[in-house]
Symmetry: none
Subunit: 214 residues, 4 copies
């Protein structure tokens, strides 16, 4: 399972093997039963360790959730930055965002599923501010990328700023959620071109007959 690699990147070394085992077990439990219904006992059984050890390493159940969540968040960001680094024009930038999104979910369906389910919990928990900060910083970095000269951003029509992220990622996210919950069959990555194309059309389509206000 590729999740192993993600965890090894965040908790490297032989000493951390147990930490990784615990996280892997927790991930499976959270996805199978849901966040709240998962008990420490379930996780413990799955990775053959003791309750005390689990608490020794992660403090409490919330700590386990947070550790997994930030692993996923980092990994997702890493792929996005990779893709964006290779893009040149605005269009390629948009495609990088869409492609990295669907590719990551396709590569890491377990982490992705967990992330959708855990976001609300983490946002309210003690790490909520940390999460908000990361999101803000990364969004700024993305805006900065598109603001660089020579990226032909002028092809894109003007949209209300707070609407833009939804236009960019909404369709891909919706399809990914549908895939993860089994409502559709094809892997998100299968439609990466369609989705990127649709977004570009949405962003650059002809001006509406009546000007849109706001």
């Amino acid at each position: 399972m590729a999740t192993t690699d993600v965890l090894e990147r965040h908790y490297p070394g032989r000493r951390a093997q147990l930490k990784r085992d615990i996280l892997l077990a927790a991930l499976a439990c959270f996805n199978e039963h849901g966040l709240e219904p998962t008990t420490i006992e379930m996780v413990r059984l799955r990775c053959n360790t003791s309750v005390g050890n689990l608490y020794h390493h992660f403090g409490n159940k919330e700590g386990l959730v947070a550790a997994l969540f930030f692993c996923a968040l980092e990994d997702q960001a890493r792929l996005r930055e990779d893709y964006l680094a290779r893009a040149k024009t605005a269009r390629e930038g948009v495609a990088a965002l869409v492609h990295s999104y669907v590719d990551w979910v396709t590569q890491e369906p377990e982490l992705a599923r967990f992330q959708y389910g855990a976001r609300a919990a983490v946002a309210q928990g003690p790490q909520g501010d940390e999460l908000a900060r990361l999101n803000r910083e990364r969004y700024q970095a993305m805006l900065a990328w598109f603001a660089e000269p020579g990226r032909q951003i002028d092809e894109v029509r003007h949209w209300p700023a707070e609407l833009v992220p939804s236009l960019l990622i909404g369709q891909a996210e919706n399809y990914c959620r549908a895939w993860l919950s089994g409502r559709v069959q094809a892997e998100p990555a299968r439609y990466r071109e369609h989705l990127a194309h649709a977004v570009w059309s949405a962003l650059t389509g002809p001006a509406p007959a009546r000007r849109l206000k706001a």
Copy 2:
């Protein structure tokens, strides 16, 4: 609060006042604390009734969730059907879908928030099949609407069938979620035209240079 009206439509009459009070209290609790963390005791306190009464009317906690969920689902469907009934062309149909979605969420933010949080729980519970059936039926009805002659559906390019719902509603949904969680300020309805326009552009944009496979 508009939610009162929605509930009155599903549980009409003076005899059902208590049922409506309970549902209103439950909705508030679920949204404030989450589904699992909400206890029967919290709901009971909020509507000043007894535990026994609560069970008398809704069977159990799951029953409370399901009752609220189907209320929301029905109301959302009602608005969509209203809007669709007034549309004539495919373009107007697409707009009807997008507009009804954002308008409903704007009108019923509490129900919408609840619906996002409860969907997974209901889908797995004993009413899961009922929910799947409703979704299927309504999706078929929508397809049938677009298949009617004279809708000029040929303006829309061909897309993989399982991708279409995501293209239609993904952006609106993403913005609605962002609004409900406070990440953006403007009401979804404010951007109803932008979103409908974006979707239409996405669906009808120029063919890609290289043909998209699948």
Copy 3:
């Protein structure tokens, strides 16, 4: 057991029978094992009820301790007030204090033992302020009693105010503790006259050769 009466005075009626049973069981456990080592399970077993019911009636373990403690405190105060109401002179007042103290401990050894052990816990818990207030009020009432005209309080020499309670009750308390822990055999009430006499001598004894400062 006389403790039954004390509890019935504070939780009267047939409906409260269970409450009284629980408190009786808790008292026995706390005295046998100590406050901390006593588990809810021990109490539960001893009074044949369920954990839930225990929490239903007393909120938590601390609530159980507080309920017992204030029962004891009230009962002790009641006896003191009775005795004091019958006293006329200062000397009789002092005897009333000493006698009520040793008589109550002799009548209610279980409650007394518990009270010695639980005072610190209650004083720090959420009911600490309530306890401090009660103590203050009762001390003021006692001072007021001795300040009434015609009590011949002038027979008593002047002592530093904060020392007085210790002079009055210290010897009796020490003997009571010794009795409750089995270090002495005779019931405190057996020495009620000795103790009252000793205290009166202490308070009124001849002035020291060198004047005491402060």
Copy 4:
């Protein structure tokens, strides 16, 4: 802090520095949180050592408590013996007992507070017999001191034997407890003369009108 000296007297030398550090940390924890609520982890943190080390030196938590308790007991006895060695008459002997008690508590408030709280635990633990033996021996030694010829013990009226210790030390103890729990301000030593005088009056006061029985 003077407690350092007490510990150095019982665990002398540079090799025992760690032992003393641990005991000092434990004392602080026990007094701040109570015996049971104090965890090994708290003590460990406070003296910057490892769990293993703590167990290496004291065996277990109970061992830590006992070590501290007997330190305190010894030190208190040492002072009492010093004072008694300098006394000549029965009156001076009584004063020596009272003075040594209040002076020690005033010098070592932390150890005294701990001693009050830990006595019950030690008495029940495996060192309970040892404690009972020490108490008995010291009580006999004290009686022997007063039985020495030329001490004019005949000034003291006859009291029931088991009442005597309470008469001697009760008032001082009560004041010391009040001071340690913050209910009074002045240091016990401040009232050493008052307390000794009161005890002497109590012991030697005029015979009661009606003879006291028993």
